[in-house]
Subunit: 154 residues, 2 copies
Amino acid sequence: MSVAAVSRGRTITEADVVAFSGLTGDHHPQHTDAVWAGAGPFGGIVAHGMLVLSYALGLVALDPDRIAALRRIEDVVFKRPVRIGDTIRVEAKVARPDEGRGLEGWEWRILNQNDELVIRAKVEAVVRGEDGPEAEPAADEPGQPAEAQGSVAR
Amino acid sequence: MSVAAVSRGRTITEADVVAFSGLTGDHHPQHTDAVWAGAGPFGGIVAHGMLVLSYALGLVALDPDRIAALRRIEDVVFKRPVRIGDTIRVEAKVARPDEGRGLEGWEWRILNQNDELVIRAKVEAVVRGEDGPEAEPAADEPGQPAEAQGSVAR
């Protein structure tokens, strides 16, 4: 395991939550209705889990010279809510180096300004070979072989 | 297992990919550089995997009277790229019903206009009890017990 690299921070503002709701169409009241959310266990509006995870990818900024695409998200646990005004950052480390398979496993810890873990995630990325990505197509969907042309892993 | 419910469709436009890049800060050339992406295995710009997954949540539109929050994403496999102009829809079914734990497991199949699988995902949601969500805090982070106040699972 390599040493974890730490990203810059990003403050999650009200504008972020509004924009993400509008763009994705996820208008669950936990993110859009201050009265509904205020009466719930979090006591107010919290950011979408997918917002935080998507912003984490922006913060980590996968190197295009090495990484062709995201292949798999193996596990994501939403540990704590991210509230308006919280500042997140990502600790990322290689958990499974590429050993000729063309796939590299990463562990991410998304932390808030109090060093509390808000999301823990394991992701797998496609490493570019000299002639492009070398990974095999995903073969875990019986009866649905990935297309040679279309598979994300090619 | 219940019968799968099918969402409405949504066409992924160039504007979606541009807006998602700008909002999240994920400017990987696979999503933003037509020349770079055109020389790669997909032959052009493809949507962010997180865009497709986030839009799927908007299409599924979790019922706020039943579902308090997303708790976990157990597995997501990006099977095929989503290109500009593709139309996605989501087949969702309950794979693990809530049996008093306050957690419900879902399986999603995100399909394109040709009925091809583009993303397969397993998610776990917190079911609201009469007095709010009943789930225990996640306890799988040694030395980092979830806070009673702040855990997503409460």
